[in-house]
Symmetry: C2
Subunit: 298 residues, 2 copies
């Protein structure tokens, strides 16, 4: 039945569940410490494409996972993503004042609070993933905790951000750039997909194909981001455009040029679709999300 929906209709339904779950997970703004809780809600609830929860739902639906599980697993990943944006925007990192068209957390709530918001959102992600009932087997759920921890840490997102910092002003090879992005963005997108799958049954069998899909869309996502950064203005982007070039950060566009970057995004898109072939029609949503990730801009 859900197969009959278009992607926008499906996304709207999923996002309603995701927002309700985030609302449930985040402490009320009136609860002490109110300043921190208000800032946490500001950081998480004011928009975003929610690509990671959508991926978790798409992978979970492939394996017939209960939707309540997918909402929680998807939100755990989204909380990690949200914390990383808050910390990345801080003055000692990217020093960005605009995010989704609004003042960044440290601008709106103060720098010390932004630091704590990120810290507390990371804890909340593991709180969410630790609440019982995400998998039939508690041992499987424990492995889900570890999967998110590794994806978030020095071998994943935080490590990728560290490589990014070190790369400012340097000329990276395409391989080095890929290594950075596989960690910085790819690890968490992969986690979203695999956590969604782990909420269902048969995830072990599906994993090789899902890994291949995740690797392709993870890179495609970043290539597209780099293209967007040079082709879109700040008003449309909802964040400060052209920052990468201004900060002398290596990007796919700076290394490969715009045309080759676009061709690469299309190749990766094709690779993602090829990985899904064994699943047939069941992979409709993952296929549509691959389309969305590549098509969202050019």
């Amino acid at each position: 039945m859900s197969g009959a929906l278009t992607l926008p209709s499906w996304s709207t339904a999923v996002l309603a569940e995701v927002e309700a779950e985030l609302e449930r997970l985040l402490p009320p703004a009136a609860q002490a410490p109110a300043h921190l809780h208000g800032a946490m809600r500001y950081a998480v609830l004011l928009g975003g494409k929610r690509v990671r929860p959508l991926l978790a739902f798409a992978a979970g639906e492939l394996l017939e996972a209960p939707r309540a599980r997918l909402a929680r697993a998807g939100c755990a990943v989204e909380l990690i993503h949200a914390y990383s944006l808050v910390h990345d925007d801080m003055p000692c990192m990217d020093n960005d004042v605009l995010r989704r068209g609004k003042p960044t957390v440290h601008v709106a709530w103060g720098e010390a609070t932004a630091l704590l918001v990120g810290d507390a959102l990371q804890s909340l992600a593991f709180d969410a993933l630790g609440q019982p009932g995400l998998a039939d087997d508690a041992a499987v759920q424990l492995s889900m905790v570890r999967l998110l921890a590794v994806a978030s840490g020095s071998a994943g997102m935080a490590g990728g951000q560290a490589i990014d910092l070190d790369s400012v002003g340097k000329r990276l090879t395409r391989e080095q750039l890929e290594t950075m992005h596989r960690a910085k963005t790819g690890a968490l997108l992969r986690a979203a997909i695999l956590l969604g799958a782990a909420c269902g049954s048969g995830s072990v069998e599906a994993q090789p194909a899902l890994e291949r899909y995740a690797a392709a869309i993870g890179l495609a996502f970043q290539v597209v981001d780099d293209i967007l950064d040079v082709e879109t203005d700040s008003a449309v982007l909802g964040k400060t455009a052209g920052k990468d070039a201004e900060q002398d950060k290596p990007t796919y566009v700076s290394i490969l040029g715009l045309d080759t970057s676009k061709a690469l995004a299309r190749d990766l898109h094709g690779e993602a679709l090829a990985a899904l072939a064994p699943f047939g029609q069941r992979a409709l949503r993952l296929r549509q999300l691959a389309d969305f990730i590549v098509a969202r801009k050019f």
Copy 2:
């Protein structure tokens, strides 16, 4: 047999296991991203009293927990503690340049790296707690993950830090100060004790007494810290002394005065020992740690 050891001998043996486990959990300094991994090791391996792992071992030995489990659970808590020190020392928070007699992480490795070090250490704590084998039942281990997440987040340590930030320059009541410290320091000490207990058997029955013990030593720890801050000089303390008064932060000493603060520490010590009475001789280490926490300075 271990009951025959003095506290220093017992601690030395425990700390050797804790340091070995931290060494195992932390990625090698040569592994990419090397700058981040070097800074993570600097933050964690260069000392500290390791009070939280010692508490985990003491509570675990009470319930005959395997020592390898205690090392891992204790280190998970220590990693959270270590991350919090790195972030608390940053310029936007306490702006401290000295910790354990050495330059703080942001001074030695840069501010952006310090931010990532804290973030990655938090992830590593949940990675450690998610690795299988900490409890006979995976569902119990999952509840351990959640216990640490709640203790670290906005209802625990990060929340206490937020209250601390808001309290600068304000006159708090004793009750407000206690609320702050129960979250800021007490939650993680409690987690260390309960996680150690959860590694053994019979932790459900023991929990009420351990909760009472944890509440008493958690506050005693902070009262003693406040006394130390005014009575000790920086060289002995290994961090900048007198910061609280200088930053106009409310402390037990500023609210109750020095003598009443010392009497309070002694009362809390007595309460901790009373809580342990039902355990008899098995609680030797927890009793000795209560002595140590109160006696470490005055």
